[in-house]
């Protein structure tokens, strides 16, 4: 399977090699897109801040122009009575609802008249914006003021030259409500706009508490940066929240407009892109690898199928070749093994005739010839029996005629039939008779084979031991010799047809190599088995026939039982033996 697994692994490595650069590329594009979206968010915030400064600038410029116009109309102020002057200033405040009062002051900073009756005589000389105005001669805007209601306003002042040539100032108070509305209206979402005056105080902010407290934020980095003339964004953490803050300076005034937005809101699009991008990249990778997995599996299966087909073909070829080899081998062995006893029977028969005719046949020769003929005949009949059994087994035509039989009687019969000349036999039998439901002829055939082998493969005079016993529900009959034993390498193939142990061939012992094959198949047909054991070459062998016990049938009922052919490699061919029906 190692080879097979690597198919899937190989495909994965291939996919990894192909997709890795694509994934990197996709990730790169995602990062770029996210960056662009963030840039857009920053630019948007900056644009809002810039728009805020423009709005603030024009708001102040517009009101200064109004004040300038009023100032031109106030040159004769010193000639007028205070009520007349107040009347004129009141008209000035009507130019815009944002005016929250106006007044005219002399160079000494004392108010000549104001739109409010109480204003006249108030000394403003200590006010820095007025000092700045007199010092520069240019219009000024004061720092922010907050009314009791919390509404922000500023004071604006513009220079005025009286008819007598002395300097004065027109001062107006402007409420920042509309500016605040304008700045806030330009915003969407959750961005918070702030207007910070030259002193660093927050004048406009959605959080009215900040405005009411005139919160000083001059030390904040965005304010410092904007005062230095920079327009841009910074990211800060404030009160545990990440903020994107854009800031821009209001020209000349030293005021700053800030736009602050929670990073998550500001970068919502960027984050969405990042999320979508990552999702698609992951999805694509997952799809590719899932596809790879299934494709790999199919490849694997087809490869396995191919592999199996190849193996099966190779196996079939091997079997066919083995069968052919075995058949050739069989023909040559069978020729030799069958023709030798036939040649002996025919030859000795003829020789006896000839010597009889000459009157030259001694009793000793006669005995020898008859012995040879009998031995050859018996050997021949066993060979033929084995060959016919093979034929029946291979063709599935072997029928067992089972009866309840006495195992000891079968053993005695086999001992009588087997050629055991020169070997003392010891049979160890239990006291009680053992019955088994078997085909007596076939079991005899098995035991004759085992006994013949024991005699054939052990030195003359050595004892052969037969042991009979019951183990569990099974009858065990073992035949032990003191012969050439079994090489370990041959144990596995011993029961294959035409197989003979190497030491058996070398020892010049004739045999077809069918006896054990037939015997085991017959044992298996009974539902039993045939086992071989040996301590090694030269140390004897033990073959044990295991048969199921009698199943307690009432009568010696005849039972025909078909033996199924076994598809077994090494089976050379079917020996055809057709008996007429």
């Amino acid at each position: 399977m190692g080879v097979v697994m690597s198919q899937r692994r190989r495909l994965f490595v291939l996919l990894l090699a192909v997709t890795a650069p694509l994934v990197v590329l996709a990730a790169f594009f995602v990062v770029i897109s996210v960056q662009e979206a963030k840039d857009r968010a920053r630019q948007e915030a900056t644009a809002i801040a810039r728009a805020g400064t423009l709005a603030t600038d024009s708001f102040f410029a517009g009101h200064i122009r109004t004040l300038n116009a009023i100032a031109l109309n106030m040159t004769d102020a010193k000639m007028l009575s205070e009520p007349e002057l107040r009347e004129r200033l009141l008209r000035g405040t009507e130019t815009s609802p944002e005016w929250d009062g106006m007044s005219v002051a002399g160079l000494d900073g004392v108010i000549l008249a104001g739109s409010r009756e109480t204003s006249a005589g108030t000394d403003l000389s200590d006010r820095s914006y007025l000092q700045q105005l007199f010092a520069t001669g240019r219009p000024v805007v004061s720092e922010g003021l907050i009314s009791i209601e919390g509404d922000p306003s500023v004071l604006m002042a513009t220079p005025l030259t009286f008819e007598d040539g002395t300097q004065g100032a027109v001062i107006g108070q402007v409420k920042l409500g509309t500016l605040s509305a304008a700045l806030t209206e330009s915003l969407t979402l959750e961005a918070r706009v702030g207007l910070i005056d030259a002193a660093g105080q927050t004048l406009i902010h959605p959080d009215r508490a900040r405005v009411a407290a005139l919160l000083n934020v001059s030390d904040r980095p965005e304010v410092i940066a904007a005062r230095a003339g920079e327009i841009g964004t910074i990211e800060v953490e404030r009160d545990g929240t990440n903020l994107l803050v854009a800031s821009a300076p209001v020209s000349r005034l030293g005021w700053v407009v800030t736009v602050a937005e929670g990073s998550s809101a500001a970068y919502a699009e960027a984050n969405a892109i990042a999320l979508r991008g990552s999702f698609f990249v992951v999805l694509a990778v997952a799809a590719v690898f899932m596809g790879g997995w299934f494709l790999g599996g199919r490849l694997n299966r087809s490869y396995e199928a191919m592999h199996e087909a190849q193996l099966a073909e190779a196996f079939a070829r091997e079997r066919a070749e083995t069968a052919l080899r075995s058949r050739d081998e069989f023909i040559s062995i069978a020729s030799h093994e069958l023709r030798n006893p036939v040649a002996a029977i025919r030859g000795f028969g003829q020789l006896m005739q000839r010597r009889l005719a000459k009157g030259a046949l001694t009793d000793k020769d006669l005995r020898d010839y008859i012995d040879n003929i009998a031995t050859s005949g018996a050997y021949l009949s066993r060979l033929v029996e084995d060959l016919l059994s093979v034929s029946r087994l291979e063709g599935g035509r072997l029928e067992l005629l089972r009866q309840d039989v006495d195992v000891m009687a079968v053993i005695d019969r086999a001992v009588g039939e087997a050629p055991l000349t020169g070997h003392p036999l010891r049979v160890m039998r239990p006291d009680d008779p053992i019955e088994a439901h078997v085909d007596a002829d076939r079991v005899t055939q098995i035991l004759v084979n085992l006994l013949e082998n024991a005699a054939k493969y052990s030195p003359d005079g050595s004892e052969i031991l037969v042991e009979v016993g019951l183990r569990g529900g099974e009858v065990h009959v073992s035949v032990t010799d003191q012969g050439i034993g079994l090489p370990e390498a041959d144990l596995a193939r011993l029961f294959a047809p035409f197989a003979r142990a190497a030491n058996a061939r070398d020892a010049n012992i004739p045999g077809l190599g069918l006896g054990l094959y037939v015997s085991r198949r017959l044992a298996e047909a009974h539902g039993g088995s045939l086992l071989a054991a040996s301590a090694g070459e030269g140390l004897g062998s033990t073959f044990t026939l295991v048969l199921p016990r009698s199943v307690g049938r009432q009568s010696a009922e005849l039972e025909a039982q078909k033996v199924q052919p076994v598809d077994e490699p090494g089976t050379p061919f079917e020996l055809v033996e057709r008996a007429p029906a």
Binding site: S332, S335, G347, T375, S376
Partner: protein, 116 residues
């Protein structure tokens, strides 16, 4: 009296060949294996070898080649149960071939012809 060495692994056939050849007046030596036959050659100095082709450990063909290498240029009659015997006989330059099972008269005639 001509001498014949019989190299045959089957005891019955060996005995049969021995008795048939003795009846014909030959002096017969017997070997059970090819090696035993080779070892007997210098001692018995046969005029002919009756050789079984199918023997374990050393087959007849190997025996014949070994014998030639040992400078015993002897007529050989091969004996076998295989029908390939005639091809093998031709390859070995055998003087005769006997297929088992055989008629004893043919057996004797083949040996007689081979020994000349």
């Amino acid at each position: 009296m001509s001498r014949i060495l019989v190299v045959e692994d089957d005891a019955a056939i060996r005995r049969l060949a021995h008795d048939l050849l003795v009846d014909e007046g030959f002096e017969v030596f017997m070997a059970e294996t090819g090696q035993e036959g080779l070892d007997l050659l210098p001692e018995c100095q046969p005029d002919l070898v009756l050789l079984d082709l199918m023997m374990p450990t050393m087959d007849g063909a190997t025996f014949a080649r070994e014998m030639e290498q040992r400078h015993h240029a002897l007529p050989v009659v091969v004996l076998s149960g295989s029908r390939e015997i005639f091809d093998t006989a031709a390859e070995l330059g055998a003087a005769g071939a006997i297929l088992k099972p055989f008629d004893i008269d043919e057996f004797v005639q083949t040996v007689r012809r081979a020994i000349g």
